[in-house]
Assembly symmetry: C2
Homo-oligomer: 891 residues x 2
């Protein structure tokens, strides 16, 4: 058997695996992790005095360890031993020393921060002898024993997986016995007894004595940090945040300093600005006489950073100065950890602060105002992907509520209303002026009318790219998908979660930005574009090359998108216009038509309705480009389902209702004739247009009449881009181009008309030169291009397979969320290239979901695309992301 | 509006549009058409005396004419006038001359022969005056008037679309009035009267007088020939024969010679060898005192060519000599038309003879034996795509049976099976392992699945070009069409012939080579490879580079394919093994399994069955490579359909049968859960393997145990290629490779094991380098690659859209029949290239339908593919096609 690859073998990296802090810098983030690189950088910026010494084990060492199935890469132990020797020399102390021991922390540090997801061990180096040495050396016996009991606890929890509550139970017992309320009130004796109980717990759980050898402690802790990369929480976090599985984490081993040495000691976290609002005041929390994890754990309630000024004025002033220094150095808002040990301030780490969208915007504007950053650099500090949070209503910030179920944050924004279970009910309730939440196991094309009518959507199945999520995002409707705890019984019209049973008409509130469903009455907070956001968006517009359009099917969507800065409509889906309840009978009549006359009648009835739709959209866009896609979905999507009809028919027959049976039968026959095994690859798009040119002709006519009407009414001539979907052969476009041109000649000169195609099939990319010669524009339909290039049916694959692939590390993010660069990206680049070569004036757009994803936007910018078209609420995201891409390109 | 292309504009070719025969040669076939090029070549080879003079209007002129919507390209009329002047000068006569007029024929001539599909006008130049001149000049008044009435008839029919039967009615009337039986018995007066009636008919039908101006006649005839390219018959012929729409036809204008000048004149067609058997005797038909179209039309029964020796010994001997000369010159069997005018032999055209497969093989072998051709040149004369006709089973030669009905011999081969009436039933029966004959009044696109499933097809309507005939021939399935005696009642599910009433499930046997249907049990005779075919195949094997494997799922298929020369199995589809009736319950139990134990039980039961299948195949292949694809189709394919279950359930409920309902419900639930919107792009292939590794593990184990068993039993170690389907990401293959390798390690060393993947998704082609590093081989699944690259679901599109596209000229042939070079071909080349670059020893195969199509095989050969794998009956085709490709490459 030949074996050309060696995918699973232990391939020890040939490079250096351990770096002293003094050797690193922030540029080495990929290798040293964010924390390691930043601590090294801080050491350089603030001086070695301010940062406890230590070293970093590289991410490559972690990757090798994990690939080998848990074997330390060769050479690592030697390098660690040398680094430790240097650290001990500098500190003048050694690990485990019974007289004056060195203590170290062992912390994770991935390329991107994953707060709380990876493991940390503190106070490592202590043992039954060393604890006495620490007590003697510091003259603080209580401190020594408190440190030791913390270490025993943390080591058992982190390295051996002993549940934290087992320790908490023992602590609670000790406090009860001692008759005290707070940990700090436990005496030395109490702590000694508690440590003994912790060690007994360790023996019971692991079958071994608690390790006294510091080298073994260190080795075990390093392995535990490596292993925590594969922990369930970390995997989940990476899945949500799009962090690749194969990055691994670095490990930082650092001399401990102690915030728990008494009243002149403290530990805390500090932001260089207000971490919620982005305002100029530094913020943070700290605890006197405590170690860092006490601040984070929430066991004791920390004090606000401002209170430090009174308690430790010197350290506080130094800290503020350091925060300013770090912010200037990094050019970004900082999130730091510090410890004051008996009055002396140590900085343990710093990183660019994660912050909510409003804080990011405020910081960017202030930083420019203060002269800290130039506009491009300020723009670059914003996480564009989160900006839509500023535009959707949210749960009021101070609202209190109980979570009923959690699901996927599928479409941002919050909504309240009463439960309905069908699209028809949603439409009826909406017509009656009621606010409703549509609750379904999953949704389908025929539910779209219900989306329009509902305030928000909840599904128990599907993920971020399910039908419900896509449609909801497109419409800017809040949606929680895949809320699996909800048991939805459509027959009984109930939702059950544990003991709670909800019925139609019961109140529900959802937060699609957080994936939360609750039955409590939560007040909503409506969003506006703030002055700061407006400023940021103007700066973005100054630098970006990529234009931004929107996907909009209604005048309301179009207007909203224009408010958010859309420069045109890049995708108007005409089929949604036929899905409206009152139009379904016409569409069904068209599909059931026996001959040309019947069909003509149905089309004649549809034409003025379509024309009205288009007039509204043209008026809303006032001369900006409007790209209208002619009918795309297979006809059966407008019909009832065969299974439902079969059931109805059987029941009608069982009831002896011959009339009903006779009515249903021909519909079922037609639905069967239309049904396709793989409708995605079937009779849709331009194929429909070629089979039933009368439909496309009606649409073209409605468009051109609407344009003429609007020109006459408003004096502004619409710019109309007619888009033919699903073209694989240039002749398909040629035939349809002729049809549209003929209708245009017949209907007169109402619009600036361009005719182009959606590029959404691999073949179209290969023959893009031929297609380009007869197209005024291409718009890449990257959703369908992803489906065909990857062989992934979004409806079928997204929930199951894509999630499974992310869990097992095959995928980092769903290819429907961010563009698959090697496959779909390649096709886009190829088509752009050969298309432009054949037709240099060809306009290139993207109208798939990816058009609202910052990573994909950067890719499209590089590929020379002219515009992206995304849902209205993502327009500001796209403007900023496009600017960031332009800035990165010139950097 | 910008209009980058000008697809429909009249773009007159800048080049010469008319060539004298003396200017052309056979290399100019694309420009002059086959006939024009051959007549020119003949003029060179045989001398100007033997070939009536003339000129050819190019195919480019035709294309320009058709593109402009029927406008003669500028310059054409002038060039025709000059050429005509030269022709008149050479002939010493002029068109329409009242004393001694020149007559010309105006004939179509496409790049590839389309016999009878395009139009021809003879005797052009005659008019009321010229006919007198002709009579005077030839001294044969009857001949002159017969020529004139033929011209008037043909002109009206061809150029003005007046139905032929209108003329036939007038002729019949004239014969009745004259009291004669045969056309030749009509007197001059009769013919004059008849011509008058023809002209009156012309006036009635067209509203104009019959044109007397020869220039107008010529212009009209040229336009008519151009237009005939777009005629329904021609379009249909091109669709069937894969001739591109945009070739157009040339037009040949040639001086007339006359086989109807009396008893020393004749017209005929002659083949240089026997056109049925390929034997060395020239064959053909001729008619004394007749024009060429009389021979073809069948109005008079022609004489066999051998009879000419007695009647016109000189001309006969000259003809035989000329046939030998032409055959030597062209290096191929010739199909000629000739005329003897008053004893003088003229050759009107020659072309390589179309011939049935047995004649092609016989000619190739004889031509080498006679020293006429070298082996490579002889191989090149064979139409490889037709060779499978020699391999189909037939009724045993000595079988006795009673004919139930006769129909059209629509697709060769014989088959036996039981009657089914619907495509769905055929599919179900096939899945259950039963042999069936599909019996329908006629077939439609939606029946195609039934063709795949049935052994043979019978229809009561339609002929040789009916849907049934075309599809059956395409698939190599025997078919009898238009068996009108069969009264088929689809509701009652019966076939009635006289007193015999047959029901679903009754036995039937058909012989599609003879058009026979019988209810008797006729033993079938498996075809054998004749000595001549064996010879040809050996020559092919000497020169081809491309290896040929077969697609085979059973030992019987494997053995048959080896007889036909397969060098291994390139695709063994394991799912067919689960479709067998007795295994379905096990497969369903596996799918319905609640937990791992139930699943394990079902797998344990399936394993020995699979192992048995594989043992049979390994034994049949005796150490040749066997490529086994692990389970590919979505699981729901093994389950009943939701619609059927719904109907059953409703009926059970209506009947109050709670047990049945309770049994059906969970199955329906599971089927619903498994159902996918687009199963083609859903949970199948390696995705199944990753979701349910236990299934792939069972298959791998069955394979390796079978290999070990066969090694022990036969001493021959199987060569096993395990193929993982539908890989898009290299990690998918990596995971499955590990699984198979682990099983191989556990099961011991029974096989030469290679592990590779099917390349059937566009993305896989883009990342072929990454995949190649962990693959021993690639096998291109060009069926699925076509479906995804083109967005064409074969099940849904092939009947409807593809046919429509061929009709409207978007496609020349179905992309499922011959590879789509710009799209799918590009992907294959890309993947082959980058795959080989990353892994130079990578073995490359193709296992889609295209592997049996000669054009595609040539493409794969050029793309550097190592082997193609096709169905057993196409193995000889592939061997010859591969040889032809190799020969072409070195030519």
């Amino acid at each position: 058997m030949s074996s050309p690859g060696n995918p699973g073998g232990v391939a020890p990296p040939a490079t250096k695996l351990v770096y002293d802090f003094a050797e690193g810098s922030r540029e080495m983030r990929d290798l040293l992790g964010g924390k390691g690189a930043n601590v090294a950088e801080m050491t350089r910026v603030l001086g070695a005095e301010r940062v406890p010494a230590g070293f970093t084990i590289t991410t490559e060492a972690c990757v090798a360890y994990l690939r080998s199935g848990g074997e330390m890469p060769s050479g690592l132990e030697d390098e660690v031993a040398s680094a430790l020797a240097r650290l001990q020399e500098r500190a003048g102390r050694t690990l485990g020393d019974p007289v004056d021991p060195l203590l170290v922390s062992v912390r994770s540090g991935a390329r991107e921060s994953m707060p709380g997801m990876l493991d940390t061990v503190l106070n490592l180096g202590l043992g039954d002898q060393a604890v006495e040495g620490l007590a003697a050396a510091t003259g603080n016996e209580r401190f020594a024993w408190d440190s030791y009991r913390r270490f025993v606890q943390m080591f058992g929890n982190v390295c051996k997986g002993i549940p934290g509550e087992r320790y908490e139970t023992l602590i609670a017992g000790a406090k009860r016995e001692a008759g005290v309320e707070d940990d700090v009130e436990l005496s030395v004796t109490d702590l000694q007894a508690l440590t003994g109980r912790f060690k007994s717990l360790y023996v019971r759980e692991t079958g071994s004595e608690f390790p006294q050898d510091p080298a073994l402690q260190l080795r075990t802790a390093i392995a535990a940090v490596f292993d925590s990369w594969r922990g369930a929480r970390a995997v989940e976090y990476r899945r949500i945040n799009g962090i690749p599985e194969d990055w691994g984490t670095a490990v930082n081993v650092q001399q401990m300093v102690f915030g728990n040495k008494g009243e002149r000691s403290c530990s805390g976290v500090a932001f260089s600005r207000d971490e919620i609002t982005g305002g100029p005041e530094p913020s943070g929390d700290f605890l006197v006489n405590a170690q860092g994890e006490d601040v984070v754990s929430g066991v004791r309630t920390p004090l606000d950073l401002s209170e430090m000024e009174a308690l430790m004025p010197g350290a506080h002033a130094e800290l503020l100065e350091i925060l300013r220094t770090l912010e200037r150095h990094y050019g970004d808002m900082q999130d730091t950890e510090f410890t004051v040990e008996e009055g002396k301030l140590f900085m343990l780490q710093t990183r660019n602060a994660k912050r909510p969208a409003q804080a990011a915007v405020r910081f960017a504007v202030d930083a420019v105002g203060e002269g800290l950053l130039e506009r491009p650099a300020a723009l670059a500090t914003i996480d564009a992907g989160r900006l839509d949070a500023l535009l959707h209503p949210t749960f009021a910030p101070d609202a209190k509520y109980e979570v009923l179920a959690r699901g996927v944050a599928a479409s941002p924004g919050a909504a309240t209303g009463t439960i309905v279970f069908t699209s028809a009910d949603a439409v009826a309730a909406h017509a009656a002026g009621r606010a409703v939440i549509l609750v379904r196991p999953f949704t389908e094309a025929e539910d779209v009318a219900g989306f329009h009518a509902a305030r928000g959507i909840v599904t128990s199945e599907g993920g971020k790219a399910s039908h419900a999520a896509l449609v909801a995002r497109g419409m800017g409707k809040p949606c929680v998908s895949g809320a699996r705890e909800l048991e939805i019984d459509l027959e009984a019209r109930t939702v059950t979660v544990g003991d709670t049973v909800l019925h139609e008409g019961d109140a529900l509130a959802i937060d699609g930005s957080e994936g939360i469903v609750t039955t409590d009455e939560v007040p909503l907070h409506e969003a506006e574009i703030s002055a700061d956001l407006e400023t940021v968006l103007e700066w973005a517009d100054e630098v970006r090359r990529l234009r931004v359009r929107t996907n909009a099917d209604t005048p309301a969507d179009a207007l909203r998108a224009r408010q958010f800065g859309a420069e045109g409509i890049g995708l108007c889906r005409t089929e949604h216009m036929f899905m409206a309840t009152e139009r379904q009978p016409l569409m069904r009549a068209l599909i059931m038509a026996e001959g040309p006359e019947d069909r003509g009648e149905a089309l004649d009835a549809l034409l003025p309705l379509q024309q009205g739709d288009f007039e509204g959209i043209f008026e809303a866009m006032a001369g900006l480009p409007v790209t209208v896609r002619l009918l795309d979905p297979p006809l059966h999507e407008f019909m009832p389902r065969a299974e439902d009809l079969t059931r109805e028919l059987e029941r009608a027959r069982a009831d002896g209702d011959d009339n009903a049976a006779a009515r249903i039968e021909p519909i079922l026959d037609r639905v069967r004739a239309l049904s396709e095994t793989n409708p995605m690859l079937g009779t849709r798009g331009v194929r429909l247009g070629l089979l039933h040119p009368e439909i496309y002709e009606m649409q073209a006519r409605a468009l051109l009449r609407a344009a003429r009407e609007v020109t006459e009414r408003s004096g502004v001539r619409p710019r109309l881009d007619v888009m033919i979907p699903l073209v694989a052969y240039e002749q398909e476009l040629e035939t349809m181009r002729r049809l549209v041109e003929r209708v245009a000649a017949e209907e007169g000169d109402g619009a600036e008309l361009e005719i182009g195609t959606m590029i959404e099939l691999p073949r179209a990319c290969f023959v893009a030169d031929r297609i380009a010669r007869i197209a005024d524009f291409f718009s890449f339909g990257t959703n369908d291009l992803t489906q065909t290039a990857l062989g992934f049916s979004r409806d079928d694959i997204e929930g199951q397979i894509v999630d499974r692939y992310i869990e097992s590390g095959i995928l980092d993010r769903s290819p429907f969320e961010t563009i698959d660069k090697p496959g779909v990206g390649w096709l886009v680049r190829l088509a752009a290239w050969v298309g432009r070569e054949a037709h240099p004036e060809l306009e290139l757009g993207v109208c798939g979901e990816h058009a609202g994803d910052p990573d994909s936007i950067a890719f499209f910018d590089m590929a020379g695309i002219d515009y992206v078209s995304c849902s209205p609420y993502r327009v500001p995201i796209a403007r900023v992301a496009a600017a960031q891409s332009a800035i990165a390109a010139t950097a």
